[in-house]
Symmetry: D2
Subunit: 360 residues, 4 copies
Amino acid sequence: MSSSLGTLFRISTWGESHGPGVGVVIDGCPPKIPLSVEDLQKELDRRRPGQSKIVTPRKEADEAEILSGIENGLTTGAPIGILVRNTDQRPSAYTEMQSAYRPSHADYTYDAKYGIRSVSGGGRASARETIGRVAAGAIAHKVLLRDLPNYECIAYVKSIHDLEADIDPNTVTAEQVESNIVRTADAAMVEPMVDLITQMRSEGNSVGGVIECVIRGIPPGLGEPVFDKLEADLAKAMMSLPATKGFEIGSGFEGTLMTGRDHNDEFFIEDGKVRTRTNRSGGVQGGISNGEPIIFRVAFKPTATILIEQNTVNNAGEETTLAARGRHDPCVLPRAVPMVEAMAHLILTDHWLRQKAIQA
Amino acid sequence: MSSSLGTLFRISTWGESHGPGVGVVIDGCPPKIPLSVEDLQKELDRRRPGQSKIVTPRKEADEAEILSGIENGLTTGAPIGILVRNTDQRPSAYTEMQSAYRPSHADYTYDAKYGIRSVSGGGRASARETIGRVAAGAIAHKVLLRDLPNYECIAYVKSIHDLEADIDPNTVTAEQVESNIVRTADAAMVEPMVDLITQMRSEGNSVGGVIECVIRGIPPGLGEPVFDKLEADLAKAMMSLPATKGFEIGSGFEGTLMTGRDHNDEFFIEDGKVRTRTNRSGGVQGGISNGEPIIFRVAFKPTATILIEQNTVNNAGEETTLAARGRHDPCVLPRAVPMVEAMAHLILTDHWLRQKAIQA
Amino acid sequence: MSSSLGTLFRISTWGESHGPGVGVVIDGCPPKIPLSVEDLQKELDRRRPGQSKIVTPRKEADEAEILSGIENGLTTGAPIGILVRNTDQRPSAYTEMQSAYRPSHADYTYDAKYGIRSVSGGGRASARETIGRVAAGAIAHKVLLRDLPNYECIAYVKSIHDLEADIDPNTVTAEQVESNIVRTADAAMVEPMVDLITQMRSEGNSVGGVIECVIRGIPPGLGEPVFDKLEADLAKAMMSLPATKGFEIGSGFEGTLMTGRDHNDEFFIEDGKVRTRTNRSGGVQGGISNGEPIIFRVAFKPTATILIEQNTVNNAGEETTLAARGRHDPCVLPRAVPMVEAMAHLILTDHWLRQKAIQA
Amino acid sequence: MSSSLGTLFRISTWGESHGPGVGVVIDGCPPKIPLSVEDLQKELDRRRPGQSKIVTPRKEADEAEILSGIENGLTTGAPIGILVRNTDQRPSAYTEMQSAYRPSHADYTYDAKYGIRSVSGGGRASARETIGRVAAGAIAHKVLLRDLPNYECIAYVKSIHDLEADIDPNTVTAEQVESNIVRTADAAMVEPMVDLITQMRSEGNSVGGVIECVIRGIPPGLGEPVFDKLEADLAKAMMSLPATKGFEIGSGFEGTLMTGRDHNDEFFIEDGKVRTRTNRSGGVQGGISNGEPIIFRVAFKPTATILIEQNTVNNAGEETTLAARGRHDPCVLPRAVPMVEAMAHLILTDHWLRQKAIQA
């Protein structure tokens, strides 16, 4: 089940960057959800290469074809198959890498696991695999919007390297995020971030950073004790994205520097609803949503594939050096923003359906 | 499936702190693993209340009974049922809390989810639920040791509040950790940490901290792309523990402050084996173990239940105040160390069995 | 996952006939279902040994203890743990069978699978394992009755050996079935069936037969195309019961002797509802319930353990003979009736919850 | 998870007969299995329409495209995506059926379940969905052959209506089955069966029958007590095929007419191996394979779609009549033979991998 995720709203992705295409099957989508290929394409376009000067210049249109599960613009309850053909493959750029393992990439571990040196296999570790996630996430998004009209999920770049944006998760808007190619929401940090990424590209180097995500409009009650806690499933989903090294919710690691008295979120009543005055819990208590905004952060390491020569070994067990060629992202974060949102949509939809099942 | 975890080595926990007992069923344990109740008890004793002056003084012997799946000291391949009776229940201490929601605890969200005010229900959110995890983890540990004799999994307290221990994960030993009641491995920090926790208890306050865990002896190849990546499953397992707010592996959030050139782990050959000179990957690349030590950290918030009066609301929707009574941990970390190890054993055993299944 | 069943309403059984006890964990039970130990006991008493002169005289009270998940007579949404202690173990009767494989029993295959000669292991193949199923089924029954007040599930002995009862599934009542120790519903066949079973017991021989089951009050729409069709999940559930050799729904194998024109169930309208004039579909079309009674049959082989000497081999690979001792059922069907009902309750509850999840 | 099957070797099918295409994702396939599109095509050709005069004359080439998971003729361990485009859609033939429910077909129940009148949705109930199963089964077959070179799985038509073939499962060969368009293995019955099916077609009527399947070369030990017994998973797999009404293994329903003494399979030793003198168990005891041939039978009802006018109702709740148009199979069995084999391959591969996981 390695390529499947979800209990009731279940996706299965397939495909490599160097084969005919990539795709996803979404099983368990409720019927009668309005859905068009444009719904998917809008999100795929936020993820695709070549969208701006700070991402990889590969030319992939990433056009989705919906193969099943839709009729007359509505989901039917049947599994939805989605296909995106690969169009810009340049295997020659990978010839050298077929034998030398890229440091901190998945080349060596795929070999160790499967006993087969496969560019396609390693291709499962590329960001291209996330096309299926983003397409499926767009569908999950529509399911949630039908039932929870106030649902909003906004991810944004919180930091690139040591450049940290000043963003209030309680007021940030999707428009702010989409207004700049970095996908941050602090106008003052856009240019410094663009400059840093551009510099990294020119050096053949790379940088990482932190994406923060805020989710609004989720009612209390989502999340399944004890193993499928909402934050546990969100953590798994985010840590399954390429290049992630950390996940924290609410106060996160910083919260360990507080005492209980200062950390606890006191309850009060507002308009007849239970609210908390602070939100160090990040919208989740005991694994279950409490109605406050869900706020979490994901750490992305600097892209492993760099053009600078590094020491490494090859699949014959010999030490060698490698300077990657090809067209790579000097920083994955701008394109990772829609991935984080997609994974959040998927987890929340699955938990929403699970909660509906036990309600009287 | 909220109370089950694992694909092939699968555990299902049950029980509340205020009912007859707690327990676990382990399904999928290979046959012929030597197993005695002492194997479980040793780990349960590291988890149990009353073990030292810095944990809750509740008196629970936490004696395990193995109900099935063992014969003549060996596992049979049948599911292993384990029961621990509750012995020290003082429901009176909880009377007040039956109506007032403890801030940052699970009281309110359980109500919101299940529509029922249940002390037992909320009891699933208590640390007592982890008894089943620790017992099951002890069994998983033995499965791994049979097949991977160099397997070692050592968790330890890395920090309490702002007190940070200086510990080298590459050399730390289990004996060092177990030599002090905090379960840290920096002799100089034991007394300050004990003092801080003692002070918190006397104030009715609480503190949190970070647990680090190092795993040695895992061969390359464990972890299932793309959703069941090893770090993704570890993240989920750790974030399913009570009071956790963050997870990071290898360089984690700090790694976002490096560039790719400095962050990448260069490969070299040592004794015919592929190694990395640094370990910012934390032993996992592309979701698959690379043979280096697996190193991760988990953030635990300060205990939510404190004896200081706080503002809150009750289940009638009225604002009120609450000062918890009862006997609580001023800091969960010393007792959480065996929980972290247990969750790691469980995830690694599951992935080990999954990897065996696909090998020729 | 061998000992777990269900997607949303999930049970995990454990325990052997020769260990301390047997039990089950039910995960995913909706909250606020009224439940008492008497609800379970009533069904366990229909399953237990010693209940009449035609079943095994073993003396097991089979008293259930509910260990978790219930408070103030209501389910809380937490997993429900149930324990039944074994009280009448006579291991001496099994000494010989520890080496000689009982023909057509599971002794040899358990050895082959697990590589361990375990009476306890083989004990998973005994009817005692079904205690957990029956207890869990009683809970599932209550879930369905809350939401579907017209729900009725009635199993009965359709035939013993060549004695076939004449029973109309559309009118049969639970009272008719429970009025006699065979659990058939054709008054004229009770005495012949009792006589046959009694004769078999006196000869140390055994007989099998067919149990039919009718389920009423299920609305159209339950069942999940394409693999989790309602009849597919019912088939699996029934074929997972000990001693079963066949499953058929509606017209079953006899239906292959009809042409499409005669076999098809024509639709008509009755009181504004879509009905079928005949019910060769057995209440399921395309894997989904159609609102008509669900009717299926399960074939149970003659009990494998007989007291007559048979040729066999032992675990040293030597040919030998074996005449089983101990107290065994000469015919499992009277006690299997509540097992069939329990499995049907479980499957229908799981599908009911799954259907609720996708409804707007 | 309605469209997924399997624990370790997991398939997810998608697609409708009236959309762009159908397909399947196979997840969990071991690496380094030789695989070409011809391996799939050979089996798809046995399943496809228009292959002989006794099946539907629809013209579908059913050409498979492998989209992922293969490199240099070997599986890589990554999920295998397979696509078959639909080419011969004639939606006009279905216009009338968009409102009137075909008796004993899935039209009404899909409406009842999903609340949407969808030809595509109903298309999940068509035999076309089985393309993905057959393609996936061909891959599973190759996995088994690598590890179990004596593995053989042969299904054949045992009866059509009241015409029963005389076939010895212990000696039947794949060549015998494939030598005739009915896919039976009794030369004397081929012509009568062809004549009967031809007559049914000319009358616009249909017939059903029984397919028997024998599996050789499976070692003892496959099957997971207690819910995932081998016969339980086979039953589910077969009952998930369209038009099935019954499943039996070994002696099946006939076995209920024997006593235990006559029914039990006595063990003996042959060439140092444990064998049984008879095989009423059908190769499975206690849910686990015993090394003998696995033999089961599946009942297929007469095709529901017939050209004869029948009474029915439409989706406006009005009584009406319907005589189906279009091109349909007067008997599904010849094309169902490869489907039965495919489902058997899938179940056995999954259990084979599961057994490998627990072996030392």
